[in-house]
Symmetry: C2
Subunit: 581 residues, 2 copies
């Protein structure tokens, strides 16, 4: 071992001990006849002192050391005269007696500090230097801890972690698969799993009873800030359970993580139906750190000759507390915000509930004080509040108003990253109709079970069938989702029919699962969490990238490794493949 202690552990109790430390030079500075070096490793920073008067040769060598050099020193722990209360080792320093330069370093292309001067591209190219930054490393330490505690919790409940294969068959439904050509089976391809969904269901058929896996999954999608072509799931499945059992088990997991890692006790999770979530927040992943629920006022707005509202199927308001003082400019900003193409509202109506009790709106021409007072009352607005109203087709408008609600929440500082509001959204619809294609798609996936009481609707009104499906939402982010599965092969066949699979296609893609169901499948259900997002929420990150050691950019490139790349023709020949010119 090149050291007897780490750079994070020496305290005043270690006074006068001879120690050997090794690490990176965070910074070096000369003061009078002394050189001070901050030596850094994963565990902390310790100050080294070289004294010209005591050992001038050593001091001369120390003077040549640059940032990020790797050194080993032997020395004695002494009390600092000038203590640094900001770091745990701040009471002591090492009077250096011996110095070994283990490696030199070129000047790094950006500063290795929490607030670095490196831009995103540079940081990603030199990710191995970026990872030296304490805050980035802390994210990965947190990730380790969360995965570890997840395993501890599930192991105690007798879940077994079972590895499922990475090289599987392609199932062109859903997102695009990454394909892997097979050399031994020319012209044939493996696919990388988008999730181990069918495999974990097979494990339930096998009687594994309680399965989990922290596992890489792959989707060849166009990327956004919170999407990566490879991502990690905490994937879980249980047999002989009902929805309630799954919710309790994994609410328990989440509470365990918050308690052991963040020292936060989370109260029991509220449950809200998908229908209510859409009605009250316009979103199936509402941020419930703040209230500001939707208030429908269509009935209060009609027959006042305001054509915009009259012709809208849906008119709804949110009430922003204490925002009646918003300036014209601020209101214009909000109008611009909702009119952005990503949001797409046609306009924004506001009502200022002034401190004196009067109401001033952008639609005063059409609505009397009494009219507006009725709106305000329904919104439970107080003098000083601001009411914001959107209208249009129901679903679109709900989404727009949801964005506006989040924007107001941010503006009002109601989305504190250190506050955690967890909830379950339940009773999702089983199917979603693609109006253009005129066919149904599975809202969750084709294996999701309908609520038993809704099964009769499968023939008469499929769109109304609710699923035994649920999402866990924290602070407006969908952290996990799952469902109780179909375990009856006839019902599964029926689902495939509703989803427009021919018998042949269903057989070709999911034959192994339907066959398995013929041999005694138990009732089962499960859930999968996005670990990247889960860690991001815990770390308060805006993007999942900084909790991933080596992420890819928006073009799916690893700029550090410079992957993907062209390959030798020889390699393609072996695979019996050619690239189109």
């Amino acid at each position: 071992m090149y050291r007897t202690k780490t750079c994070g552990e020496l305290r005043i109790e270690n006074l006068n001990q001879e120690v050997v430390l090794a690490g990176w030079v965070q910074k070096a500075r000369k003061m009078g006849g002394m050189i001070f070096i901050d030596l850094r490793d994963r565990y902390g920073i310790t100050q080294l002192v070289f004294n010209q008067e005591i050992n001038s040769e050593l001091c001369e060598r120390a003077a040549k050391i640059g940032r990020e050099w790797v050194i080993q020193v032997k020395g004695k722990v002494m009390e600092r005269s000038n203590k640094n209360a900001n770091i745990p080792t701040g009471d002591i320093e090492i009077i250096t007696g011996e110095l070994t330069i283990l490696n030199v370093s070129e000047v790094p292309p950006f500063t290795i500090e929490e607030d670095t001067d490196g831009g995103d591209d540079l940081r990603m190219k030199y990710r191995y230097l970026d990872l030296r930054r304490t805050n980035i490393r802390a994210n990965l330490e947190l990730r380790h801890r969360m995965a570890f505690e997840t395993r501890s919790y599930l192991d105690k409940l007798r879940f077994l972690e079972v590895e499922t294969p990475v090289l599987i068959g392609s199932t062109p439904e859903g997102a695009r698969d990454f394909l892997v050509p097979s050399r031994m089976n020319p012209g044939e391809f493996y696919a990388l799993p988008q999730s181990p969904q069918t495999l974990k269901q097979l494990l339930m058929v096998s009687g594994f009873d309680r399965y989990f896996q922290i596992v890489k999954c792959f989707r060849d999608e166009d990327l956004r800030a919170d999407r990566q072509p490879e991502f990690t799931q905490i994937d879980c499945e249980m047999s002989f359970v009902e929805q309630e059992d799954i919710l309790n088990t994994f609410e328990g997991l989440t509470k365990h993580l918050f308690r052991t890692i963040k020292g936060v006790d989370i109260p029991d999770f509220p449950r809200i139906s998908y229908a209510d979530a859409m009605k009250l927040y316009g979103s199936d992943k509402p941020d419930t750190r703040f209230d500001m629920k939707f208030v429908e006022i269509k009935d209060l707005t009609t027959r006042k000759n305001f054509v915009v509202f009259d012709s809208a199927g849906y008119v709804a308001a949110i009430c922003a507390e204490s925002c009646a003082s918003y300036t014209r400019k601020q209101l214009d900003e909000l109008t611009d915000f909702v009119k952005r193409p990503q949001i797409g509202a046609k306009g924004l109506v506001y009502v200022r509930y002034e401190a004196d009790g009067s109401l001033r709106s952008s639609v005063d021409k059409f609505y009397s004080q009494d009219d507006l007072k009725a709106w305000a009352d329904r919104c439970k607005a107080k003098p000083g509040d601001l009411i914001l109203v959107l209208c249009g087709e129901t679903e679109k408008t709900q989404k727009q108003l949801s964005e506006l609600r989040l924007e107001m929440g941010s503006r009002l500082g109601l989305r504190d990253k250190n506050k955690f509001n967890c909830l379950w959204v339940v009773d999702f619809p089983l199917l979603e109709k693609d109006e253009e294609l005129g066919r149904f798609f599975a809202k969750h996936h084709p294996f999701t079970g309908p609520k038993p009481e809704d099964i009769p609707l499968l023939d008469s009104n499929p769109g109304a069938v609710r699923a035994n499906a649920y999402d866990m939402v924290i602070n407006g982010v969908e952290i996990g989702g799952g469902s109780i599965r179909i375990y009856n092969s006839e019902l599964q066949k029926k689902m495939f029919t509703i989803l427009g699979f021919t018998e042949e296609k269903a057989q070709a893609q999911f034959g192994f699962l339907m066959n398995a169901f013929k041999f005694g499948a138990p009732p089962h259900g499960g859930i999968a969490f996005g670990l990247d997002r889960f860690v991001s929420i815990f770390a308060g990150l805006d993007s999942i990238r900084d909790c991933i050691a080596f992420p890819k950019n928006n073009s799916g490139r690893d700029v550090m490794l410079d992957a993907p790349t062209a390959v030798d023709q020889e390699q393609l020949d072996e695979l019996n493949l050619q690239v189109r010119p």
Copy 2:
């Protein structure tokens, strides 16, 4: 929850309790007016009783239940009159009051018993049924436990589990990569990692200090019984360490696993140099559960006109205790064994050390009793022992004699699967010369560090340079291997030169690593364990397949999923690829 208890937990203490159980019907039998059903779940088997006299309607329904049906029963725990000491629940049975059939089952294609009547192909096609067998499931439970205890041990030592990417760049050195075409970067390919070797080294450059990962790796090789295209490594790396630190840390891991999982205390691991392992066992992964070391006798055999020995560079013997009584037929079997093409010896010389002290050999024509006595003495043979001798070119003959030694060990019952002999093989050569190509290859990989004292030999006699490389061997199986790495970019460059890389090629393939080394790489080293093999050794399996949930066959096919498969032309078009006609 469909049950209040599992099928494995009820005991005499639970007498008279009302319980609900759910599981699979292992078997059903009628006796008089009673029906007995063995109900199975992951946790055990519990006997259910249906009594014609008490409830004839229920009994009638129970009579129709077949093997592997999934049922739920409610009933009362009663003491059995006819106890079964072979199962933990054997003292009790359930007098069934209610029965729900959760799912029916077709008759499975093979019996769901420890000793099944299903052949390998059938078992793999219906793997989900095969996994219901208690012994197969036990292997996967063991695998879970080993992975879990590995994580616990390493976490306590402050190792961080860091996930490295699965989609990386191709490095055509070594085994073949699996390639993954990139849709977003047409004509370019990712590769699946053969190991996270370079990435974990980058994490050391990043200051992660102690890394591990239980991770899938991929090699597109032609397959054998103990190879799979995807396999799992316990991959580890440490900074600021010397070889001794790694050996101690991971010897500790292995002892921890044996202690916590098998209740076995393993003594400190002997260490043997590669040179000695080859000299004494003819193998770099000797099975040391039994002795039977090689004894070189070339000097004792010369100048007796036996041309075969005289013309051989190497003559060596093993002594099989108490085998002098081997019949002609048994000796012929051994001769056939060593002459098989896979082994390739030209013949086998034996010396029977008879009980009366006389020596009878297959080369009596050339060697006197005194000559043979000298061989026997060197072999420390006793009357009653059998000496077996092979000769030829040193390395080839060592390999042949090693195979013969293992065969004799097996014949003599010296390779007990419940005995565990662990050791370290150290001081591997750094390089291996391919005589045909006339160039050196890295014995371990290009990042392995030479022993510092051997560095001067890199120029003068590269083949003689020893590496700081080590393998952990248990019962003749290489369970893990690793090395202290090169951390100096100049030395790394030199290695690439010796290995015949042009500067351009080295830069193209490993540029990111060499660049990283310019920014302060710490001394580091690591090890990787093959989890599949590790579990196999613990489980006493001959093949790794039965500790893998969904393994592939020798053609790399998953016969259950029927993968790989042809894919739609549309999918290939998106990837800008075509399959050669």
